[in-house]
Symmetry: C2
Subunit: 215 residues, 2 copies
Amino acid sequence: MSQRRIPEATVARLPRYLQVLVEAADAGQHTLSSDDLAKASGLTSAKVRKDLSFLGTYGTRGVGYTVAQLTTEISTVLGLSDDRPVVIIGIGNLGRALATYDGFTRRGFRVEALVDADPDKIGTRVGDLVVQAPQDLPSLVRDRGVTIAVLATPADRTQAVADDVVAAGMTAILNFAPGHLDVPDRITVRSVDLSTELQILSFYEQLSQVSAAAS
Amino acid sequence: MSQRRIPEATVARLPRYLQVLVEAADAGQHTLSSDDLAKASGLTSAKVRKDLSFLGTYGTRGVGYTVAQLTTEISTVLGLSDDRPVVIIGIGNLGRALATYDGFTRRGFRVEALVDADPDKIGTRVGDLVVQAPQDLPSLVRDRGVTIAVLATPADRTQAVADDVVAAGMTAILNFAPGHLDVPDRITVRSVDLSTELQILSFYEQLSQVSAAAS
DNA sequence: CTTTGTGAAATCCTTCACAGCG
DNA sequence: CGCTGTGAAGGATTTCACAAAG
């Protein structure tokens, strides 16, 4: 029952499964049951099975899933077959941290270039890379196949930078600046706002304090 | 119709509204319609109205919502009445970036302390703060009212650090390390994994490339 | 005439529970 | 016997569409 449309909620969990699988492979595990996967990722086994059923029939009844096979399958579905090149734009504190973050490297991506608009930053080195100018964006797309931009620019500059990114021909943006980005439909955008996450956390913490006090 | 249980999906959007409201206030706007809010946050007006209806009846028909009033209401619901103190644990590249990130400060939080287990880092300064030892966690809770921990530790140390945080009496964790954290039910956890976000983005980018090629 | 607030419909997601395969 | 794969049930969320308020 392969190749159906994969639900959004499922896509959002695939990276977790992938991570558990990679760790299991490192630990020498050959197969994992849906229950193993569930325990390691904090979910229920039914959810795991449903999720994986959208990818196709990769399990063996009575046994579980083959670690190597499922790893390949999820990587393919996520489009992680090769190291995908990304450019980080905005080399402030956060941008610098992202540039040297080894998690990207270890999980299917390669930081191919760094870009900043500040003339004082252009030409400086961060890790192995030299900061380039926004004018270089089109050539990153053309000559080096970069289609994913990670934005860590100041909030008031982000829409303008996104426009440049789109004009240069990139097709996906991971945005760390607060606020909504307006881009054409063909561009894929995901936004992660660190303060927003803290605010959501704050709500639930407050809630559990209140219900604890009531008991 | 105030004080019902607020759906998770709605809670996750409240910070966006809050941000739009603050910007509108800065721009001198006195009221905003659900459509204004929707356009500024990339949603539909029906969704905005439904969301806000869970907080109570704060709009005026034919006019919209009073910026100041709604700002106060959402802040209260999210528990942002005062600057909430947070501690950042794990002062690597990411931790350092978070420590100096002014977004936290501007949106209801105060970075009250920094903690790292590395003796070489303890005692060093980052911004206005001096890095402390994990042993200081209980006193941060007791003497300075810190209940929220932001974890930016290496993946293989994170569960142990989370255990310390819980033992020290904190009640909320924002986790930036990959992988699942196991904590008691009374603790509120949110995880943000930067690589996961890129992988999800990669899936949707790939998807839109495929459908574009089909046309 | 504009814009809210909301039932009702439609869609999406999770959980249940069990048939069926290895 | 153990574990997957999945229909069907149950919840949650989004969208629709309109009555009512200013």
